[in-house]
Symmetry: C2
Subunit: 303 residues, 2 copies
């Protein structure tokens, strides 16, 4: 089952050196989830050939422009393209009024339902859950309210083992209940424990999204053991003080977080516009956490 | 003296086929004036190598997204780049509150003065005037309040003719007043008429910007004889009814307007996303008005 993230924009506040403001699209089993939406995101979909009409849920970390200025254009393009299915936005509350106001000044009426789900400041909890994926949010520490996200697969059902089950001659109609964990009761009343006829579901993969924030160990419990962690690394290590002053993280701090949280792989982004080359920054990350890459535009990372 | 317009975006509502939403930058004697600001305008400056920090005046025709969604990103980038000089925006009033609200949700405080000059709906008049250029606005007919602009050079001063003037032995200190139209009075009281010692300033060039609008002959007096007319041609001629319903113009109508207004050259833009090739549309324009071109991205037109 596909679970991958495509990078649409990797830069911080100002676009530079061909790098665009933050946006990513997550594909889980062909369901698309948009994470942040900097200016130009809709153009990036086109250049990457992503069918963005399939997006139904958009998660916004915080309300700085480099994470939201592409949203209103995307919403109105959906409308012009004839969208009818609902769109869900998960973000801090003031965005709702801003969207409303921007539509109003152009006298634009959306022909689809725009469902806004406010993220409470400093909140922790599940924002969204389907039968296949859940999205958990946790607070970060930035200059304005900011949240991280954990996208976690759900495999509720255990895997039915036909070979083992054949021994007990189990009728087909019992299988759904067994997949959900029920034991099988034979005609003579004998109870066959579920574990004898099923196997555990495979491990649920996790993608953690952490931007913008200063180095923050309190998030470790939420991102622990993630298969892939995206962590901002706005500055290189020499600019630790500037990172602290602007409540951002350095390369080394991103590596430290990945190491302490025991994630499998780290990708870093949200680069300052001051860097033409990012090789030095990546090197600093890898000195702490070797399995790390730059989350550059057009890259796709399997989770 | 340079007077030219660079096309940053040529498409209507939805970006398509590499064409972006509307934006143009006018260079008059190295002063830059921005006209409309669709999403991605700031990226377009970078790809065209335009020093956009030099922009001091922005003119917005109307508040549909494809003409304004790049503005907030540009304003905040100016701020992040350390801008201190004032920026003037000429637009319909509701944009002011929208900008304010978008800055507020990100807790962004601009470090430069943003001076908003409201355009009154259905108004006609001078929006801006320097010693070299004036900008005149006139109402168009679209689904929401929409204005066109005429950018006209000013040559206040007549050209001093040193050869003719030598005959009358005119002292240097009299020249500035003569350039402004004064006669020269000789010591014996003889009046030398200004026309004898100066020549008329060369013709003032004019650029007319007309988008979005249905075909509207009432604007002819304002754009009459322009050196260059940009007129929208959202649809080809076969879609005249659709153009009328959406209050846009067709290729043929753009050509008609150029012809009736007696302009020297026509460029057309604001193309519908339905066109991959624009050759057919251009042909229809040129059948009515031969000196016409497509106002495509990255093209620069001398005025």
């Amino acid at each position: 089952m596909k679970f991958e993230v495509s990078i649409l924009g990797s830069n911080s506040a100002i676009p530079a050196f061909g790098r665009h403001p933050t946006s990513q699209v997550l594909n889980h089993d062909e369901q698309l989830y948009l994470i942040d939406c900097g200016e130009g995101t809709q153009m990036r979909f086109k250049s990457l050939g992503i069918k963005y009409s399939r997006i139904e849920h958009i998660f916004i970390s915080h309300l700085h422009g480099d994470h939201i200025f592409g949203l209103i254009g995307l919403l109105t393009s959906f409308n012009l393209l004839g969208r009818q299915k609902a769109l869900h936005i998960y973000a801090h509350l003031p965005l709702q009024e801003s969207i409303h106001q921007q539509l109003q000044i152009g006298k634009t009426k959306l022909n689809y339902l725009l469902q806004f789900h406010p993220i409470e400041p400093d909140s922790t909890g599940i924002l969204f859950q389907s039968s296949k994926l859940k999205v958990f949010t946790f607070p970060l520490s930035h200059k304005i309210d900011c949240n991280g996200f954990l996208f976690e697969e759900i495999f509720k059902l255990r895997k039915f083992n036909p070979e083992k089950a054949a021994v007990f001659n189990i009728p087909k109609e019992h299988i759904p209940a067994i997949k959900e964990g029920a034991n099988f009761v034979m005609e003579d009343g004998t109870v066959i424990a579920n574990e004898l006829i099923t196997e555990a579901a495979k491990a649920c993969r996790k993608y953690a999204y952490v931007t913008d924030t200063e180095y923050l160990e309190s998030i470790i419990p939420y991102i622990q053991g993630a298969d892939l962690l995206y962590h901002e690394a706005t500055f290189d290590n020499s600019l630790e003080q500037r990172a602290a002053a602007t409540k951002h993280s350095t390369s080394t701090q991103a590596g430290m977080m990945a190491k302490k949280a025991g994630v499998k792989k780290l990708i870093v982004g949200h680069f300052s516009a001051k860097y033409k080359s990012l090789e030095g920054l990546l090197k600093e990350v890898q000195e702490i956490f070797p399995n790390a890459e730059l989350a550059l535009e057009e890259k796709v990372f399997a989770i």
